[in-house]
Every structure is written in structure tokens, then in C-alpha cells.
Amino acid sequence: MRLLLPGLTALLLVSTAQAQDLTAEVAHSWTSGGEAAAVKVIVDAFTARGGKWVDWSVAGFESANAAYISRLLAGDPPTAKTAVAGPEVTELIAQGLMNDVDAAFHAAVPAGVVPQVVLNAITVDGKVYMAPTGMHAGNWMFYSKPVFEKAGIAEAPKTWDEFFAAMDKIKAAGLTPIAWGGQSWQEGIVFHGVVLSTIGDAAFTKLYTDKDLSVIDTPEFTKAVETFGKLRDYVDPGAPGRNWNDATAMVIKDEAGVQLLSDFIKGEFSTAGEVAGTDYGCALVPGSDSLITLADAFSFPKTGNADEDAAQALLAEVVLDPKVQAEFSVIKGSVPIRTDIDTSGFDVCAQEAIGLVKADKIVLDAAMTLSPAINGGFKDAVGAYFADPSMSVESFIEQYKAAFANG
């Protein structure tokens, strides 16, 4: 197949579509309003090209994984499953449980339009195994324009010094500086944002992609940990355990100044009728000029059924279609994986992100490069550290480092 011309492959797929039953049972966890609407884009395109979509959606990563792995063990996997493009798929690939979609990928995507780091993440032994839908960036700072105005902050802080000065002003204005979601997975995202801004792209990749632990021992990393710890002073007492959307509501209600988190929270602003750039602003975490990206992708278990193999190829083709990519990301609030698409529908935040992707200013989120067990260890350490101001930087670093031993 790889020897065939890409266009021919596409033709072939379309022509066989008539003869085959292109039913795909798709497992995903995108169940909430905006997410589901984004999935709908793929479903419609898939159906339009002769596929039949059978939805198997399970909310919650744990439950979805439990059900999915169970089906793998029972020898009855779904046709496709969404996942973070990273180790949770590569382990299954190594076990020989997954089909590649190399032909479909190269048929659909011209060379050079997918960032190399992402391409590396979805390729195993020279073959592409996943079809990415888009990327989320974790190192965003969203802020309430009215609050900034009230506190007398002219523009989004560019450095951590500026940031803390701004936060002090908000505090002085009697508002909550940071709308903090006190759950360890959120805190983990913020921490990595702080780390990237402090140690830089190269060291970040060295640590989280190449697992070079010497980075942790650098003074820059210690500095990052200290900066992260300083955030505690700008958080309200109700923060522990708070859901991200409750934190977002604080910014929407102009009770809090900023929220540091991924771009997926934009949906909450739009639902509340707020417009990016007008009611709220977005900027990268102070001191950063690169995105920490996390790509979601479809992966394709071996089903032993030729029809399903064809359906998998068709699904990959649909997902990678430039139009689908754009529409999907606009709704979901993510950044398309392809750089060659029409960006007119995106909001100012996404536009900025797309610009960074085009300029190749991206690093991979640890979830794409390290096992879930290591990432879990990170969250444990970060959550414990943020909750306990008496925890020393050293003992945090020790615990954080120990997480690498998980896999």
C-alpha cells in the first residue's frame, strides 16, 4: 500500500467503500456539550463518505480505559479509540494489538504540514499508527479584563515578576488573584507551565521526552518549583478540590483575576457569552514563548475483520481532512494538527497558538512522552506540594524525581 501513490490510495478507499460495510464502532470520552459537538463534525464527515458511525462513548478516563482494556482482553475491541497520542497507545502497539494507518495518513497529509515532534509521537517503527484530531495547549493564562482594569493592570504580565506584581494589585483591590482549581491534575498542568517558562524549551524536552533527570538538579528547576510555590499566596481558601469550571466561573463573574490552565476552558467562557479578547484575555504563562501541546488521536485496534480495517482507514482519512480538522478544533477549542488549514474561524487565542505551531514553537506535554504511571506520580507530588506550604523544595524534588521510577 505504501508503494501506491497517495491519491490512488484515497481513490481506492472511496471505491471500496461502496462494496464494503464501513461500520466503525468508536470509543471516546468526549461526552460533554462542546466535546460532543466537535465529535459530531467527524461523525458527519465519516457518514458522508459512506461510513457508519456507532458511538461508544464513556465519560471519565478511568471508566473508559477500564471498559476499553476489558474489550481488548475479551478479544472484542472497538474499531477505534481516542487517546492521548503517547505511551498508552504505544504499549498496545508494542503488544501487537494495533493496526497502523500509515497509508491512509500519508494519503491524506502532505509531508511537512504536521509538526515533526507530533509526527514522531504517532509513529512507531516508521509507521504511523494514530490519527490526531488536534492539540490542546496547557500553558495558558486566561484573565478577566474588568478585573485587570479595576486593579490597574495595563496588559497581561510577561514575566513572573510582573505577574506577581499584578497579582498583588488584584489582591489590594479586594479580589482573588488566581482562580485556582485545587485538584492535582490541574495543578500538574500549571506546574509544567511554570517549569517550561523557567527552564526553557530545550531543557523541557530533555527532561520530559528524553528522561534526562539531570535537568531536575539544575537551579532553574528549583527556581520553577519556588515560583510555583509562590502561587499559593494568591489563592483563596476555597481552592482545594475545586473543579476547573467553578474556577473559570470566578473569572467570568470577575471575582478573580486569572486562571492558569489549558485552552479547553475556553468553552466555558463562550457558553457564558464571553468573547476572547473582549471580555477576557489570553496569554501564555508568563515567561513562555512556546506551547506545551497534548495531541488527541484516534488509535485503531486490530479487529481481525477486513471491513473494519477499511473503516479504520476511512476514519483516519476523515479525521485528517483539513476541513474536518479546522471545524473540529474551532468547536473543541483545540489547535489543529495540520498547519495548512484555513484559520479564519478561530478566536484570537487559537490564532496565537496556531501561529506558534507554524513557527514550530511547541514542546510535547509529558503525557505524550511518559507513561501514565509517571504522570500520575507527578500529579501526586505536585498536589502534595501545593497543598502543604511546609513541604520543602528538596523533598518535593525528591518525590517528583521518584515518579520517573514508575516506568
Binding site: E88, D236, P237, G238, P240, G241, A373, D380, Y385
Partner: protein, 314 residues
């Protein structure tokens, strides 16, 4: 504990009414126990063996057969979160079980005092048992959140000294989880206790009135000792629930602040599904299972001996 050994005198058991003893046991009795035996041997024992075996491998997302010795156990006990989880479970277990028993008993006594609208009260106290915790956990999260919950409301009403911020304090969060747990389970305990109360001989109540024994004394000295079976059943159910506690924590605090409300079952669940660390999860499960057996078997054994000794004196 749960059964009443005193009521079971071996000599009266049909299997031993004759010198030939167990020979009289009909085939039907063995046949009837076959499903239970099959479930125990194939599922429970089978799973246990599977679990122990996997805990000795390097399994990640999927079961693997690569033997790594006790490496997973080393990792397990090297993980701060696991040790914290065990401590948390002990605190939670004691507060939750004792709290639910006490509250359940008090509710049962109150409902039993010939109050009006008895069935209404009973239903009010029992309904949490029917609700799944995915969302009721959120309710408690709100109620105990100092910024929007009870504390905020009380302070807005003028009681500015009022403080109720357990979920946000590492030192208190586990008690918040226990409180929500008691909220959910006390109704069940109440029903079990109420049943025990209703089973007490009506003449006994009259006798205490004739003797002029104050009500509180009657409950403490005469009624409570008779509720043994109810208490034992409730205790067992609560303990099982405490050891398995998982979704309560997830819904309420998700283990936080920090790791102050992490529990072993959640550790295992996270390792199993979210962290795809099957080896570590099964090691944790094995440790839990071993602990439960180490506690349960001596109790069951001691009780059996005690029951036989007692039976011998009659």
C-alpha cells in the same frame, strides 16, 4: 460477630444428631452449596491467585508474564501516597464506622420513641443510601466549600466566627469525607438497629418501667447489649464499605488537598485504570487482601472456638 453462635448448639445440628454425624448430610445440601463454592473457588480464589501472580510481574496496561520478583512491592512501599492512604483509611474507617453506628443508633432510638410521621423520618434518613455518589459528592463539596457553602452562608447571616472548612484543610479533610460517608450510611444502620429494637420483647420494656429504670439506662444497659446481631451486621457492612471506599473520595475531594484523603482502594483504582500500572495495582490489592485476612481469620476462628466452648457448657 455476625451470626449468633449462642443460638447454634452443635448438638442440635442435624448433621450431628447421630453418632455417625455427617453421614446424614443429604446430597442436596452439597449440591445447593455448589454455586457458592464455584464462585468462591473460581472467581474469588481465582482472582486472588491472578492478582498475586500479576503483582510479581512488570504488567503495565495489560497483563504481562515477565517476572520481576518483589519489585512492585518495593515500589509500592516506596510510594508516599500508599503509606498515606493506609493511614487515612485507618482514620476514616474508625470515624466512619463508629460515627455511622452511633448516629444510626440514635436515629433508630429517636424514630422508635413512638414519634409522629415515623415513616417520613425513616425515609428522610434512608434516602441517601439510594443516591449514587457521583453527584451527591458534588453537593457535599459545595456545602463544605468555605467560599460558597455552609460557612459562607452562616457568615453572611452575621455569624462571622462560624468556620466549616474541613475539605480545604489537609488535617481535617478526611473527617469531611467521613462525615459525608456517615450521611450516606447512617440510614441503613438506623434501619438495622430499628429492626433490632422492634425485636425486643415488649414485656421487657414493661419490666423496666415497673422497676423504674430510667429510659437512658434502659437503652444503655438492657437494649444495647441485645442489639448485638444488628450491630454486628451493621459493623460488618460498614467495615466492608470503608475498606472499599473509593467513589466517595473521588466525588468529594478526589484525594486532596494534597494527599490528605487518599485511600488504598482509590490508589488501586488509579493504578489499575488511570495510570495503567497493573503490577502496582495488584501489589496494592494483595497487601490489602492479606491485611483483611490477617484481621478477619483470627476473629472468625476465635469466635468459632468461643461458640463451641459456650455450647459445651450448656
Amino acid at each position: 460477630m455476625v451470626d449468633q453462635p449462642a443460638a447454634r448448639i452443635p448438638a442440635s445440628s442435624p448433621a450431628r444428631t447421630r453418632a455417625t454425624g455427617r453421614l446424614r448430610l443429604p446430597v442436596a445440601a452439597l449440591a445447593a452449596l455448589t454455586p457458592a463454592w464455584l464462585i468462591i473457588l473460581l472467581v474469588y480464589l481465582g482472582t486472588t491467585i491472578w492478582t498475586v501472580q500479576l503483582s510479581l510481574t512488570n504488567s503495565r496496561m495489560l497483563p504481562s508474564s515477565e517476572f520481576v520478583g518483589l519489585a512492585q512491592y518495593e515500589r509500592l512501599f516506596g510510594t508516599a501516597r500508599w503509606t498515606i492512604s493506609i493511614q487515612n483509611l485507618l482514620t476514616f474507617g474508625v470515624v466512619y464506622v463508629v460515627g455511622a453506628l452511633v448516629v444510626g443508633f440514635l436515629l433508630a432510638v429517636a424514630v422508635d420513641r413512638h414519634v409522629r410521621f415515623e415513616s417520613m423520618w425513616r425515609t428522610v434518613f434512608l434516602y441517601p443510601y439510594a443516591l449514587s455518589f457521583i453527584v451527591t459528592g458534588l453537593m457535599w463539596q459545595w456545602l463544605m466549600n468555605p467560599e460558597i457553602g455552609i460557612q459562607a452562608t452562616m457568615r453572611a447571616a452575621g455569624w462571622t466566627w462560624f468556620t466549616f472548612d474541613w475539605t480545604t484543610k489537609s488535617s481535617m479533610a478526611i473527617y469531611a469525607v467521613a462525615l459525608a460517608g456517615i450521611w450516606q450510611s447512617a440510614g441503613l444502620v438506623m434501619v438495622l438497629m430499628l429492626a433490632g429494637l422492634r425485636g425486643i420483647d415488649a414485656d421487657l420494656w414493661r419490666a423496666t418501667r415497673i422497676e423504674g429504670i430510667p429510659l437512658w439506662r434502659t437503652y444503655i444497659s438492657i437494649v444495647l447489649p441485645q442489639l448485638g446481631p444488628s450491630i454486628a451486621t451493621a459493623f460488618m457492612l460498614l467495615t466492608m464499605g470503608a475498606v472499599r471506599t473509593f467513589d466517595l473520595v473521588v466525588a468529594l475531594t478526589n484525594g486532596g488537598p494534597g494527599q490528605s484523603t487518599e485511600v488504598p482502594a482509590k490508589f488501586i483504582m488509579d493504578s489499575l485504570f488511570a495510570r495503567q500500572d497493573l503490577g502496582l495495582a495488584t501489589a496494592g490489592a494483595t497487601v490489602m487482601l492479606a491485611t483483611v485476612m490477617a484481621v478477619t481469620i483470627p476473629i472468625l476462628y476465635a469466635r468459632d472456638i468461643w461458640a463451641r466452648r459456650r455450647a459445651g457448657t450448656i
